[in-house]
């Protein structure tokens, strides 16, 4: 038996109001969509989802990371996700970067591999006024695959079809699309056929399916394909009211369906991108007490102005402060301290017990020189010791909220506090670690670091 042992969804905190967009670019808009913050990318969001899904699991032999907005090309982003998720060096980490279909591909690869973690993460935008900007959702999901699942894989089917519906040149902001009716006529039959194929293989009828997920970037094809199912079957994946999450959309939808599912339920997840992929799962008894996606406990959204959003995506660059250029981390130093930089592993002194952040050769409290224990600080909350707002910071979002944090059980570190735009801070406020970007240097090097964000009561 193989299937999904645990899963998690990560939604960034900022929310873009579509009415705010419409005021600038025209047209009409209502409701909000989640957008990655100024210090997030597909990699950091993937880490947040993977960390949550992997919590309490036995570990994985491989990691499959899908996104259409990879932070780097040539250099593996899956390797960064693996390192920051605390996975061992023996875990094989692979990228499925570029095509939307990588999301379905990562799931299929992960299910074939057995003990694996599937991470899908995407940042959805385009030119101002585009449908991707208005209707997209920035999100990540992670599915841990193993032999003792909460949702057992029953069957899969795939079709590959070569046609041009949407495309983007590497490095470009804009995604181009062919006219809408063409996509409908290509995609709808593909969805029909792949559903028939998978149900045939699983010896199931449409009415035996409890939850259906239909994921495709083509809004009109999606609306048409949905007509083949009952509203109740689609309700779970509709519940969150998210837009299309790109390469992460299938995994996010599957997670939402599982959140609503009970043992014995059958879940059909269909993705239609350059063909179609279908997966059927049967929810097991283990799911009754299993952890859910975490979406229900997610922090409340925080509004972001359209101006800030465009600035974050590099579409409204602002005159920078007259300050020295951002200095990139150098690869040998980042390599030497990878456990600290990516894994947030401190050194706890065996003599006095104090946690040294970062690890040192000589304990900063008692000067001991040996007997340090590595301690992961990723799940350790802390309190603000003091704080300031730095308008001269190199952070994209000014002022940078800078805090000195005293971690529960010992250890002090100064860092930027994120997800705190406009938030009133006070000494003693509770905070939790989160993996983010400090800066992107002129040479393109992305400085990933651990910061803190407001702690959620649900996390206690």
């Amino acid at each position: 038996m193989v299937g999904i042992e645990s899963y998690a969804v990560y939604l960034p905190v900022p929310r873009l109001d579509r009415a705010d967009v419409a005021r600038v670019v025209g047209g009409r808009g209502k409701g909000v969509r989640p957008v990655a913050s100024y210090d997030e990318d597909a990699t950091t969001m993937g880490v947040a989802a993977a960390r949550a899904a992997l919590r309490g699991t036995a570990g994985s032999e491989s990691l499959w990371f899908a996104t259409t907005r990879p932070a780097y090309l040539e250099k593996s982003n899956a390797a960064t996700v693996a390192a920051a998720s605390g996975l061992a060096a023996e875990v094989a980490a692979y990228d499925l970067s570029g095509a939307l279909r990588g999301g379905a591909g990562a799931l299929r690869a992960g299910l074939s591999a057995g003990a694996s973690v599937v991470v899908a993460s995407d940042v959805r935008y385009g030119l101002p006024g585009s449908a991707d900007e208005a209707e997209g959702a920035d999100a990540a999901a992670a599915l841990v695959v193993g032999p003792d699942p909460v949702a057992e894989l029953v069957g899969t089917a795939s079709l590959t079809s070569e046609f041009l519906d949407r495309w983007r040149i590497p490095g470009e902001v804009r995604t181009r699309t062919w006219e809408e009716r063409f996509g409908v006529e290509e995609y709808v039959p593909l969805v029909e056929r792949v559903v028939d194929d998978v149900l045939g293989r699983c010896e199931l009828k449409r009415e035996q399916i409890d939850h259906v997920v239909i994921s495709t970037p083509h809004a009109r094809a999606r609306a048409t394909a949905r007509r083949g199912f009952e509203t109740a079957q689609l309700a779970a994946s509709d519940a969150a009211g998210l837009g299309y999450a790109g390469a992460a959309d299938l995994a996010v939808g599957l997670a939402l369906a599982l959140d609503a599912a009970s043992p014995g339920d059958v879940v059909l997840a269909v993705s239609a991108t350059d063909g179609a992929d279908a997966f059927v799962f049967r929810v097991t008894e283990k799911h009754a007490a299993g952890a859910r996606s975490g979406l229900a406990d997610a922090p409340p959204g925080q509004p972001v102005s359209y101006g800030d959003f465009l600035n974050w995506r590099g579409l409204l660059p602002r005159e920078p402060a007259r300050r020295p250029d951002v200095k990139p981390p150098v690869p040998p130093a980042a390599r030497r301290t990878a456990a600290w930089k990516f894994g947030f592993v401190a050194a706890q002194c065996g003599s006095c017990g104090y946690r040294n952040l970062p690890p040192r050769r000589v304990c900063l409290r008692c000067s001991a020189t040996e007997g340090f224990e590595p301690v992961s600080m990723v799940d350790v909350p802390g309190r603000i010791a003091t704080f300031t707002d730095d308008w001269l910071s190199e952070s994209v979002q000014l002022p940078a909220r800078v805090v000195a944090v005293d971690f529960d059980g010992g250890g002090r570190f100064e860092c930027e506090m994120t997800d705190a735009v406009g938030r009133e801070l006070a000494i003693g406020d509770r905070v939790s670690p989160t993996f983010r970007l400090a800066s992107v240097a002129g040479n393109g090097v992305r400085n990933y670091v651990w910061k803190v964000r407001p702690h959620l009561e649900e996390e206690d």
């Binding site: 007259r322 300050r323 020295p324 200095k327 990139p328 981390p329 150098v330 130093a333 980042a334 030497r336 301290t337 600290w340 930089k341 040294n356 952040l357 970062p358 900063l364 409290r365 010791a385 003091t386 704080f387 300031t388 707002d389 730095d390 308008w391 001269l392 910071s393 190199e394 002022p399 940078a400 800078v402 000195a404 005293d406 971690f407 010992g410 250890g411 002090r412 570190f413 100064e414 860092c415 930027e416 000494i427 400090a438 800066s439 400085n447 990933y448 670091v449 651990w450």
Partner: protein, 395 residues
Amino acid sequence: MGSHALATPVAVVGMACTNFGELWDRNVDDLLVEATHGALDSAGGLGVGDVDAFWLGSMISGVSGLTLTRPLNISHKPVTRVENMCATGSEAFRNACYAVSSGAYDVVMAVGGEKLKDAGYSGLEMPSVPNDGTPPVLSAPAMYSMIVPAYARRYGVSEEQIKEAMTHIAWKNHSNGARNPRAQFRKEVPKETIAAAPTLAGRLSVFDCSGVADGAAAAVIVRAEDALKYTDKPLYVHALALDAGSGTGRNDSDYDYSDLAEAAASARTAYAQAGITDPATEISLAEVHDCFTPTELVLMEELGFSERGKAWRDVLDGRYDRDGALPVNIDGGLKSFGHPIGASGLRMIYEMWLQFRGEAGDRQVADPRFGLVQNQGGSPGDLVSAVTIVSGRRP
């Protein structure tokens, strides 16, 4: 074991200081030559060849002793460049003093100079070793602004009261600088203007920050017993102290950002050397490291001038004003005299040189007994602090 006053006391017998400011028309060579020649002239007309050894303080304006030998055309002399962040000027002075006191040399010179305004930034760019990108990157005002909420919490004072004291310090140092022909900013600024300025970091506005400046200063130092050969009014050195902390406060939850322990430690050492038991009454005037206004506020406590948690009150009561009981930064301080890093420690001593010779014009303090110079580098929790005590009386 221990720290002691110099077995053979030393004295300053010649000093000079350039104007500080945005000196677009001068490079570091020009500044070093002006300060060095000026100090030699004031020591009874010595020549460069009469100086046996040199200590040059510069943080980012040049490397090695050659930064001094080239522009001055000095050859075949021991010339050392020293660096200890913003305490560099005091370090050049301290090491030069030890050299004459030891008997190794008869006449030495401490020179500090910095050319900052060619960088094109309004702040200071610290040289940094290539790293893994995880050290926190804060602006200097941000690091010092962390004092404000921490101090407020520790002593149960409101941040508004602290801001009022910070505004008073900025107002005072601008007012003092207005009376100093060498200062970068020579204009009084009303308290209302200071209080209303937009913030740069935490509670700090541009008025709470020292001026980034170009400038240089130099001192000729000899053994105290020889001092009267060069001048009839030497400035005698009574204490030289330096305290380098472990630099771990920012990673140690025992540190609360409300104090500057290295400053207190360097002051204790210096007071012991000078035989001072009650600094609040025995010190007649002090030049302290007002890189940011909260720094000067906390230093009043670290140096023993104010009780713990009471400095803000003493500041507002005018105790450290020009006409107060203990004038602090009567030359304008880093705030309005300007802060060319390597020169600042020597600039502070230069004000003492003028004050103890009765040459400070309308800033003159009557009959000063001891003068204290405190000069520091780094940030709260990650600090070096130097304290020098001088007077017109031979130890």
